[in-house]
């Protein structure tokens, strides 16, 4: 792993999220994450990039404590605002996460409960977990809906999800994520399900709100184009292992790891529309697998 010089970290400031040597595996099954170490500082957007199956989403799920039942954390520490989450009792952990972190999920079509009105889905957490008054929560929800450019927030609060378009739902989800003033947001491919024009607006919104509130964001994506638009720092993941962590500009101008270079080369460019696609070479993938497995001292477990 290459050293990570962080442009956002103020000297002496403690990171919002510190992951150290995290290992995650299917119970009695293959490993999904191997020795992942990364930090996210207040106000920093860290992109977590890799091919599908690289374990990017697992990192977010492990942080938020929503790993599927069959998957467990096998090693390492996750510190959220200085709390070592692994050491906390489940109820206390839920409380810490609920107070400090939010999720922007991937698919706006399944991320809102179809049988509940929008308003309640935003204010529930404020009222039930964070002790806001119903009135304050409502005002906060309206404020944020306006902030994400929803034109008629009162009406939207009273609507059901099926009455909104995909882009509107994703904006509602962003409003819901920022409403409790979290210090950390995990964005799990929030633009993947949207079309390109909407994607841009959504990225800009996340960026604006995040910069305003100095929120740390862990932005999971497979799209190098999105990485370039939104993040200050990048962590490249392959087979659950960190290949390279670097400031975004440096990563694009001077990629150190061959896999990073291959990923960047594989991204189609608007400026060269007739260029053939260059997928990551299979020989490189095979070689990386060998390396990943040999460093772990056990092979043949990637089902």
């Amino acid at each position: 792993m290459m050293p990570d010089s962080n442009p956002v970290a103020a000297p002496g400031a403690s990171p919002t999220l510190a992951i150290d040597g995290l290992g995650v595996a299917v119970r009695r099954g293959p490993r999904l994450l191997r020795d992942v170490t990364l930090n996210v500082n207040p106000g920093e957007v860290r992109a977590l990039v890799g091919e599908s199956g690289a374990g990017k989403s697992m990192i977010g799920k492990a942080v938020l404590g929503v790993l599927p039942r069959s998957i467990e954390v096998t090693s390492g520490r996750i510190e959220l605002l200085g709390h070592d989450l692994g050491q906390l009792a489940p109820a206390r952990r839920r409380q810490v996460v609920a107070a400090a972190a939010s999720l922007i999920p991937q698919d706006p079509m399944t991320a809102l409960n179809p049988s509940r009105r929008i308003g309640g889905q935003i204010t529930d957490r404020l009222v039930l977990r964070l002790g806001w008054s119903a009135d304050a929560a409502r005002r906060r929800a309206l404020e944020l809906l306006e902030r994400v450019h929803i034109r008629d927030p009162l009406r939207v609060m009273a609507s059901y999800p099926h009455e909104l378009s995909g882009g509107m739902r994703q904006r509602v989800l962003i409003a819901a994520a920022f409403a409790p003033r979290p210090q950390l947001i995990v964005a799990d491919e929030p633009t993947t399900a949207l079309d390109v024009t909407v994607q841009k607006q959504i990225l800009r919104l996340i960026r604006e709100l995040q910069a305003e509130a100095k929120t740390a964001v862990l932005f999971v994506t497979h799209d190098m184009g999105v990485v370039a638009k939104i993040s200050q720092t990048v962590t490249v993941l392959f087979a659950g292992k960190v290949m390279e962590s670097a400031p975004t500009e440096q990563l694009f101008s001077d990629p150190r790891h061959p896999y990073t270079r291959a990923l960047i080369a594989a991204t189609p460019r608007y400026t060269h529309p007739h260029e053939p696609l260059r997928p990551v070479p299979p020989e490189l993938i095979a070689q990386l697998w060998r390396e990943v497995e040999s460093t772990n001292g056990e092979g043949g477990e990637h089902g």
């Binding site: 404590g65 939010s102 991320a111 529930d124 957490r125 009162l154 059901y160 909104l164």
Partner: protein
């Protein structure tokens, strides 16, 4: 939460709701027949032209209205003991409906709760419930019901309990699967991140989305309960053989089919329409309440 007044808006895609208000024909046709049954059952003493138990051997096997030998007042004819078929059908609706409602609710309550718990909590709860369902479904249901009633002794309560005991698996199986799907939805994950307790997630995120299925199954189950009750009375294991039941009437009519078809055909028709109505009602309700197709 206070409801804000709906405000007209240019971005209002309000059309889907208007569509939901329109009832489809199969829903109102089936609901109409069931309503008719309920009214008949409630007002049986006033509605029935004759005492359903009164035998009159001088009036045996009278044909229904419009046929040769029709006797005024006996609209649907009489059976081999001279009892009025229409009156017996009307009184039979009472038993059919009581059994349908009570047995279906009992099966629904038991099965849905187990299904919700199994689907939501997984692990040992799920394995326990799922194996239970598997074992239960290995018994042929009708034989099982006959056996249960034989053990408990005939009677209304036995019939209801037997149907609930054999049919809770229907609910457990389907509701478990639906709950499993719901539990994996992103909004459940978001609620977990937001610190919602398991009980709250189950009650406010999952149950509302499973409820349309529960309601639909409940209506279907009422139809099934009517059939099972008819089968039990057909083999003379339901209520005491004096009480008019549709199944019992079918059993009696079978013997005289060749010279008094009406004794068999009318209860069969009523049974058929009722079961059909309940199943159609179930399907129709599912469409109507499904939040995704609203």
């Amino acid at each position: 939460m206070a409801e804000p007044a709906p405000i007209a808006s240019s971005l209002a895609p309000a059309a889907p709701r208007a569509r939901a208000r329109r009832l489809n024909p199969r829903l109102w046709l089936s609901a109409g027949w069931i309503l008719l049954l309920v009214l008949a059952a409630l007002s049986a003493p006033w509605l029935a032209p004759h005492d359903p138990l009164a035998q009159d051997l001088l009036l045996e096997r009278l044909p229904p209205i419009g046929f040769d030998g029709y006797e005024a007042g006996y609209w649907l004819g009489t059976d081999s003991l001279g009892r009025d078929v229409l009156s017996r059908l009307i009184y039979g609706a009472r038993i059919a409906l009581v059994v349908a409602v009570a047995a279906a609710f009992a099966a629904c309550l038991f099965g849905s709760v187990l299904g919700l718990l199994a689907g939501f909590y997984g692990g040992w709860t799920d394995r326990g419930v799922s194996r239970g369902v598997d074992v239960w479904m290995a018994f042929p249901p009708v034989l099982f019901a006959v056996l249960l009633v034989a053990v408990m002794g005939p009677g209304l309560i036995s019939v209801i309990v037997a149907i609930a005991i054999i049919d809770w698996t229907r609910f457990a199986r389907v509701i478990r699967a639906e709950t499993l799907v719901q539990s994996r939805m992103d909004y459940v994950q978001s609620a977990r991140v937001g610190g919602a307790s398991r009980r709250r997630i189950l009650a406010s995120e999952i149950l509302p989305n499973v409820l349309p299925t529960i309601v639909a199954l409940l209506a279907l189950e009422m139809g099934v309960a009517i059939i099972v009750e008819a089968i039990l009375s057909f083999v003379n294991l339901s209520i005491s053989s004096d009480d008019p039941t549709w199944g019992g009437m079918i059993a009696e009519g079978r013997a005289s089919l060749h010279f008094a078809w009406w004794v068999l055909v009318f209860p069969l028709l009523v049974l058929f329409l009722s079961v059909l109505s309940f199943t159609q009602l179930g399907e129709g309700l599912k469409d109507q309440f499904d939040p995704l197709s609203r």
